[in-house]
Subunit: 278 residues, 2 copies
């Protein structure tokens, strides 16, 4: 497994490869969710590239960039086991050298949900992902369904800007009790960890309602919110039932719908989602 | 010579090629300036692609998108003579389908000169050029020095976003009396055409001053402005002596300087520039 820190070295290495390249961009602190992306990439490509880069431009000034969990040694051991070919681990200065001031931005769908809660977040995401795509030149890139809006935004960017790769969505990996895997779960104390199951419980409630014929999105949001409010450690950021393409809130669930939520458990902000009617 | 209108067809054609591809993006109504780019691309690459696309997103609402001169038949005849391999002539709907809303933007240097005079102009330029680069995947792309700020902005975009191609600048082509070639020159009536020589005269004045040791940028700007004001058909938009990298106005010309100007001759806005100290 090659560990590469420089853009130039990565491009040189990439230039010599033949055959398909699968790419999994990550912020490290890998868990089973990431590994499911890596294994999918491994199964579908001759070479697999993984990037580990905690991207400063996608964190707001009051967000958790400095305290985002990091453990490069553990990450590398996990990736080696999966026979990853290249790990790209650049510094922030390597990705954003002095004076770097060009941006890729998807308008419209980035105004909602995570984009509304975290202004500037997606501009940072699309910029770094576009840069990584140019550096790695993958045939396929793998993204978790857990970050549903990120997946929608990146697909839109690739489509709108005519980029030459395929985006492969991979289902959310979950703990046995239903909690979606996330690098941020490590911050939950034992009591919060128990409380965090309320996110997937709310989504299960929504799925149950939908299967019983509920089509009123407002009633569905209310039921989910009521369930979450019973958990004293939880505070709702948003509960959404939205069009999967535009992410606009629905009145009636008369098409495929993204049910998503952001909830703080103690000080840790968690997100999760399901798609109804796929 | 292949004439291709669809993104998908262009990508299919491109996918089968081996060897280097040179690319000349244009808005059509070709003149000797464009042809010097095409000939340079022809000399340096196995395949040459030219795009003809009057890009709506780089024109402001009060600008001349609708009246921008067009003559596809003449353009194609000129390109055929130069043994161009592919001409890409998409419609606006092909490049910007319904809902397309992703943008590439270079901040900072786009606030000055043309960017200041034409808000949003460079956002349209960088977006369409990034899209064309993704569609054509050239090894080298050729841009005229006449649009000096555009050249600087595109170089910065390529560098900042780690794009995989080389940008080749080509000197400005001029009429015998010094007027920089431009598709917009066709709009000048005979009297305005004569008056338009004042742009290159002002640049020559600046070069002469510089060669005589003038290093005060403000005095240089004043002298150029005074010369232009003697021409009754001319009205100055800006006269600039700026750093070639940042495009910030200089006080003392103590490094390589871009001397540039935008002047309206009658209703036609013309630009031109030279670089001092290269």
């Amino acid at each position: 497994m090659e560990i590469i820190e420089k853009v130039r070295s990565l491009k040189e290495y990439r230039g010599k490869l033949i055959g398909s390249v699968g790419f999994v961009p990550t912020m490290g602190y890998l868990h089973e969710g990431h590994m499911s992306l890596v294994r999918r990439a491994r199964a579908e490509n001759l070479s697999v590239f993984v990037s580990i880069f905690v991207n400063p431009t996608q964190f707001g000034p009051s967000e958790d960039f400095a305290s985002y969990p990091r453990d490069a040694e553990r990450d590398l051991a996990m990736l080696q086991k999966e026979k990853v070919n290249v790990v790209f681990m650049p510094t922030a200065e390597e990705i954003y050298p002095d004076g770097c001031n060009s941006w890729v931005e998807v308008s419209g769908i980035t105004d909602r949900l995570e984009g509304k809660a975290r202004p500037g977040h997606f501009k940072g995401v699309t910029t770094v992902v576009a840069k990584l795509f140019n550096i790695v030149e993958p045939d396929k890139a793998y993204f978790g369904q857990k970050d549903a809006q990120q997946l929608a935004v990146i697909r839109k960017m690739v489509n709108d800007l005519n980029m030459n790769l395929e985006i492969i969505p991979v289902p959310t990996a979950r703990e046995p009790d239903g909690l979606a895997m996330s690098s941020r779960n490590v911050r939950l104390n034992p009591e919060e960890r128990k409380a965090a199951v309320v996110l997937s419980q709310a989504l299960n409630l929504a799925r149950g309602q939908w299967e019983s014929g509920q089509r009123d999105a407002s009633q569905m949001r209310d039921a989910m919110s009521a369930l979450i409010k019973k958990e004293p450690l939880a505070s709702i950021d948003y509960v959404s039932v939205a069009d999967t393409q535009t992410l606009a809130e629905l009145d009636m669930i008369n098409r495929t719908a993204l049910v998503s939520l952001a909830v703080k458990i103690g000080k840790t902000r968690l997100i999760d989602n399901i798609v109804l009617g796929e």
